[in-house]
């Protein structure tokens, strides 16, 4: 547990027990892919959220769909930090590890804090499982776990015992054991059990009522086991975090992106066409959006990423907001079509849910190494707007912003997220309708003096015309075009002008950005500039350093093209003798954008 604890004697349940109060806890559930660890983790998350903690989560799936049971590469994990204060990351090292089998113990133990708590399912420590996990002797017996607080529990056996009259077959019974573990942890951390009961019920009642009953029974058994078996000598309490009042739900990054896109389209009064091709970790945006037909979102799954980009652009030409998402290798395929969208000057939103590269790379691991690809990965001078989300919930705001800017400036906008945001979750304060101003898209309908590439003075956007509008039929294409009429033009002066216009249009987006936010002093010794999902880690480190008295400040970029305009107080950036630019990429990829004022960074 991250902060000092003070024992109190509160009476929380039927049985009186000593309760330790702590500020934050990091817990990790680990087991076989088939052990239901993701479900266990998310139930615990919900309960913690409802209990009023701030929290942050990180699932860690194996790359295989269903790896053979018991293997090291088949271990699935779910980590969660919950706290009575603001939480920025899922935590570095777990305080508590739940290990459902030897492989889970083997791969996860190195991360556990010294003298951390370890709940192990003893029944799984059989000879064959130990061999698969490449243990030479049983770690539960050979003393190698000394130094940890070990809670050995026969989770499998107790679950069997509990369900022996359920009428379920052995396999089904075995699959309930994660709820036993969940119940134990609920007791251990004083989580309210009602939301979990409701949630299990909701999940199973319809399809498999017998499983709903069994899981609830096992969950309660686990909870009571914690209470009665006295293996946990104390219960731990993490108080409510002080968070802004309002309604909350848990949200994963890709869900936030999906509902943000729909929200953006609704605020723009536009139908949304999402065209996608599955790829990890972007696919769940497609999955989630495909459930929102009634909300104005149409999704189509097409033959490849090129077709997805093409269909999205075709829809934008037709007056919808065209959206497509993918991850690195898939986004690479969209480059040519994105260049066309730049030339056509049509709105388009492209989400890149980054993963480890290069090439197929590490599909299930996160990385922030596609920024330069998005800024520069097209032929010719082909500027697009690029912004990045910093937390799972922030994906919602960024998706709205992406739609708004795409439509207002008639430009492709790239939204950068990553696998960490996509699958991570945090409590998200549900906005009120009144919080968000609509930004209805304007379509040109007046045939008088119509020029397809005439520009709005403020935004430099060209007019958007819906095919079907009488008298405005016009042709656009990827060849260079006259700066007013849009007719094909090979004139070098006109080309120069168009290149500058396309650049300037993106720069104009700077007028949308408020003053730059600095965490810390505007003058100091070290300025940390970050972007994307490193937000949590940087904020945590900077706050810790600042608490220790260091003069460290932090600027986290949302917009990567254009960069923020000249910061109002130039000393905020310029005179810092040392500038760190962390990013979740291996060799320190850094934004190198062409916005003026940032050359010195």
């Amino acid at each position: 547990m991250a902060t000092s604890s003070t024992p109190t004697g509160q009476d929380m349940s039927a049985t009186p027990r000593p309760i330790i109060e702590v500020d934050s806890v990091v817990i990790r559930f680990a087991g076989d892919s088939g052990d239901g660890m993701q479900l266990t983790g998310s139930e615990f998350t919900k309960a913690s959220a409802v209990a009023g903690n701030d929290l942050s989560t990180l699932p860690d799936y194996p790359a295989e769909i269903r790896a053979p049971t018991g293997t090291l590469f088949g271990v699935s994990g779910f980590q969660l930090q919950f706290a009575s204060h603001q939480v920025f990351t899922p935590g570095d090292q777990p305080d508590v590890l739940v290990a459902m089998n030897p492989a889970a113990l083997k791969t996860n133990l190195p991360d556990l804090v010294t003298s951390g708590s370890l709940i192990v399912n003893t029944a799984a420590f059989t000879k064959p499982n130990l061999t698969k996990a490449k243990y030479e002797s049983n770690p539960l017996e050979d003393g190698s776990l000394e130094g940890y607080q070990v809670f050995p529990v026969d989770v499998t056996g107790l679950t069997k015992e509990c369900l022996k009259d359920s009428g379920l077959n052995a396999k089904s019974i075995d699959r309930c054991k994660n709820f036993f573990a969940l119940g134990m942890t609920f007791w251990m951390f004083n989580r309210p059990i009602e939301p979990a009961l409701k949630s299990i019920n909701d999940k199973f009642r319809k399809k498999k009522p017998e499983l709903a009953d069994a899981n609830i029974q096992v969950f309660k058994a686990g909870y009571h086991y914690g209470e009665t078996a006295e293996i946990f000598t104390q219960s731990v309490q993490v108080k409510r975090a002080e968070i802004a009042p309002g309604k909350y739900r848990n949200i994963m990054g890709n869900s936030a992106t999906a509902i943000g896109l729909v929200t953006g389209a609704t605020l723009a009064e536009l139908p949304l066409l999402y065209a996608g091709y599955p790829i990890t970790p972007a696919s769940t945006i497609l999955h989630e959006l495909s459930r929102y037909r009634a909300y104005g979102a149409t999704t189509i799954q097409v033959e490849d990423e090129i077709a997805a980009a093409g269909a999205a652009i075709g829809a934008s030409f037709g007056g919808s907001i065209g959206v497509t998402a993918s991850s690195g290798p898939g986004v690479a395929l969209k480059a040519e079509a994105m260049g066309l969208a730049v030339s056509l000057e049509l709105p388009l939103v492209v989400v890149n849910v980054q993963r480890g590269g290069p090439s197929t790379g590490l599909p299930t691991k996160t990385e922030q190494s596609d920024l330069l690809q998005m800024l520069y990965g097209r032929n010719g001078e082909s500027p697009v707007a690029v912004l990045s989300a910093r937390t799972p919930g922030d994906c919602f705001d960024c998706a709205i912003e992406a739609v708004r800017i795409a439509v207002k400036y008639m430009t492709p906008v790239v939204l950068m997220t990553d696998g960490y945001l996509a699958n991570g979750a945090e409590p998200w304060r549900i906005p009120k309708l009144s919080d968000i101003a609509p930004f209805p898209a304007k379509f040109r309908t007046d045939p008088e003096n119509f020029f397809p590439y005439e520009r709005d003075e403020k935004t430099l956007a060209r007019p958007w015309v819906k095919p079907g509008t009488p008298g405005l039929a016009h042709r656009v294409g990827g060849l260079e075009k006259d700066a007013l009429t849009g007719h094909v033009s090979y004139d070098p002066e006109n080309h120069q002008k168009m290149c500058e216009l396309r650049r300037d249009k993106i720069l104009r987006i700077q007028q949308e950005l408020g003053p730059i936010e600095v965490n810390g002093e505007h003058e100091g010794e070290v300025l940390v500039i970050g972007w994307g999902s490193t937000y949590g880690a940087i904020t945590k480190s900077v706050n810790e350093l600042r608490e220790g008295g260091a003069k460290v400040s932090h600027v986290h970029l949302r917009w990567l093209n254009p960069l923020h305009p000249h910061p109002p107080q130039p000393q905020a950036l310029r005179p810092t003798p040392w500038t760190a630019r962390p990013a979740r990429s291996r060799c320190g990829t850094v934004a190198r954008s062409r916005s003026p004022g940032w050359d010195a960074t």
Partner: protein
């Protein structure tokens, strides 16, 4: 938009100079499209023409409809996105043999499979015109071009067979210079609900002059063209020859007339046959062994992709009349913090 009435061919001609080589077959195709659109009473403002890249793909610039000159091989993708989101528009795709069958082959076959309500005109000149004369996927084996000075070694695609293999619901073939026939095919495609594709034999007088001369020239025409007419016996050579299926289902050329094969034995063309195998069989008739079929190979009805998507949407909307931002946001477990 019923206000625009009685448009003439010239109402479909844009103010842009047509930039094809003098003598190019594309001119006639453009003219027949303009003429047919005028005769069909097509509404310019509700029509969108989307092309890829190639000489033929310059087409949209010369029309007064909405248009997009997109990127090489991808026109069906833009058209699909547009049509799904705006099913009321009249969407046409212009493409070349390179554009549609080389770089764009995948999008072409997927458009067929989906049966999006698009009309596709495939200008087949058996050559890459715009890039100056390299062989294309429809060029005859052994063709010598700047990129194949020793002769090409790959077998050509037959576009009709490719799209039938992919599940096309409407497939026709016509010829640039056969103005009447081409107009008829354009009108038939327009009338079809679903993806309609017309392979148009087009001469490139600069890089592949006489591309189809053996089939289209005046003298050969009668012997070399098999005019497919629904319900009519498959006759050619002035009715002196015809097509009959043998017991293995293989079509044969037979002489027709007294003392020869009787007219009754000649197969009557049925473009509505459920199995694509029939049209596929006809597509194997080729120069020089057989007369080349021209006309509608297949015209069958199947739900269109755009309709199906939009029907789903209507059902979804009807099922959830309360869908609004607030209900979108409040999914799952919601709790209140004070």
């Amino acid at each position: 938009m019923g206000s625009e009435i009685k448009l003439k061919k010239k109402d479909f001609q844009s103010d842009q100079d047509v930039r094809w080589c003098p003598g190019c077959g594309d001119y006639s195709i453009l003219a027949q499209v303009q003429k047919s659109f005028a005769e069909l009473g097509v509404n310019r403002d509700e029509t969108v023409i989307i092309s890829g890249i190639g000489c033929s793909s310059r087409f949209p610039y010369y029309m007064t409809t909405y248009g997009m000159h997109s990127i090489h091989g991808r026109a069906p993708t833009f058209a699909t996105g547009l049509k799904v989101s705006r099913p009321e528009l009249n969407v046409w795709v212009i493409t070349g043999d390179g554009d549609s069958l080389s770089i764009g082959g995948n999008h072409l076959i997927h458009a067929m499979r989906r049966n999006v309500n698009l009309k596709i005109l495939l200008f087949n000149n058996r050559i890459y015109g715009l890039t100056k004369g390299q062989y294309s996927p429809t060029s005859e084996t052994g063709k010598r071009t700047p990129s194949t000075p020793l002769g090409s070694v790959d077998n050509p695609f037959d576009p009709v067979s490719v799209v039938l293999g992919a599940g096309a619901t409407f497939v026709a073939r016509s010829i640039d210079t056969d103005t009447k026939h081409l107009q008829e095919m354009i009108k038939r495609a327009h009338a079809h609900k679903g993806t309609a594709i017309i392979e148009i034999y087009q001469n490139c007088n600069v890089f592949n002059d006489g591309a189809f001369v053996q089939i289209t020239n005046k003298d050969a025409k009668e012997e070399q063209q098999l005019r497919l007419v629904h319900g009519e016996p498959m006759l050619f050579a002035g009715g002196t020859k015809g097509i009959r299926f043998n017991q293995l289902g293989v079509p044969e050329v037979v002489e027709v007339g007294e003392g020869k094969t009787s007219l009754d034995a000649i197969c009557k063309h049925d473009e509505t046959m459920d199995t694509p195998a029939y049209a596929f069989t006809l597509a194997q008739l080729r120069y020089p062994d057989h007369p080349t079929p021209v006309g509608v190979f297949r015209a069958v009805s199947r739900p269109t992709y755009d309709d199906a998507v939009n029907e789903q949407t209507q059902r979804a909307v009807a099922a959830k009349p309360s869908a609004d931002l607030s209900s979108l946001w409040h999914q799952g477990e919601v709790w209140e913090a004070e």
